[in-house]
Subunit: 152 residues, 2 copies
DNA sequence: ATGAATGTCTATCAATTCTATATAGATTGT
DNA sequence: ACAATCTATATAGAATTGATAGACATTCAT
């Protein structure tokens, strides 16, 4: 039931970009340094997020990435699905990657897995990066530590 | 966020054993045939469930496996943890495999992951194999199909 | 124009995990 | 004795994961 490193990094990068929304293109190097993410790995991740329409990019000198939409219109679920695929524990209860299993009609495990899928979706598909930004700010107010990464 | 084949097979075998509770030792071969699980693979799985105290075994001719406790005292969560490890998406929110991460105090992703862990736990740690048996029986009443496997 | 800085794309690699099988051994009932 | 059964550990192949490499295309400042 693990969250992949890819999604972990993606969430952190997305929070970073959300915190710097409307400030122009942010370069991969800046994100990779601030959040301590291997740069080459991050390149692949941001490329995926761009291809699914979550990020926009600008090539060339002074290029970089920025959110394609306002942070309140992007959910954690959307990002995790882009990188890890379905959030459902089994495909026969997935909305985005549904595949029937052989014994679907009588399968009693399916019901439980559906409950889990829905529970995870309730969290991830409701939580936006605007919410995450609010939490970062709260966290910063409480603790006056200078450094903050959005690490897990 | 996938459920492993190991846990999938384990759940099915456990439901089978729960449906045959108090009927003496059940042999691996019977379970593996009925539930269409590779026998050698199932052997390893049942061995693990025995080592954590969920199953009892009897060696030798007429040997086999049976539940170590009543089905209403064994949860799906316990079985899945035995095979897949923690149900939490990241270790820093796991109760059974907790490991701190570097930025725990200020980490904003952690809160979300904690919500997911709790949501999954709410389902898996409440649901017992007695509940699963009830569902199997309901399912059988509704549909008079002869065959029933507890597949996903 | 030129060149340095940046994103794009594809390939590749090493390590790990997952799924499954193999083999040798111990125990039991008849 | 012996066949059936569980025990224990090792191993193999495939898939996945995490990360890196390198050639290429585009842009901006000068």
């Amino acid at each position: 039931m693990k969250l992949s490193k890819k999604s972990d990094y993606a969430l952190r990068a997305m929070i970073y970009l959300s915190m710097h929304h409307k400030k122009g293109a942010i370069q991969i190097k800046e994100i990779s340094t601030s959040e301590r993410i291997p740069q080459k790995f991050l390149e692949n991740i941001l490329l995926i997020l761009r291809k699914v329409g979550i990020l926009n990019s600008k090539i060339g000198l002074k290029g970089g990435y920025e959110l394609a939409r306002s942070p309140d219109l992007i959910t954690l679920g959307e990002v995790i699905r882009a990188l890890d695929g379905a959030i459902a524990p089994v495909d026969c209860v997935s909305k985005t990657s549904y595949r029937p299993c052989s014994e679907e009609v009588t399968c009693v495990i399916r019901g439980v897995m559906m409950d889990i899928r829905n529970a995870i979706s309730d969290v991830l598909d409701r939580m936006t990066f605007a919410d995450m930004c609010s939490r970062v700010k709260e966290s910063l107010e409480k603790k006056e530590t200078g450094v903050l990464t959005y690490a897990i």
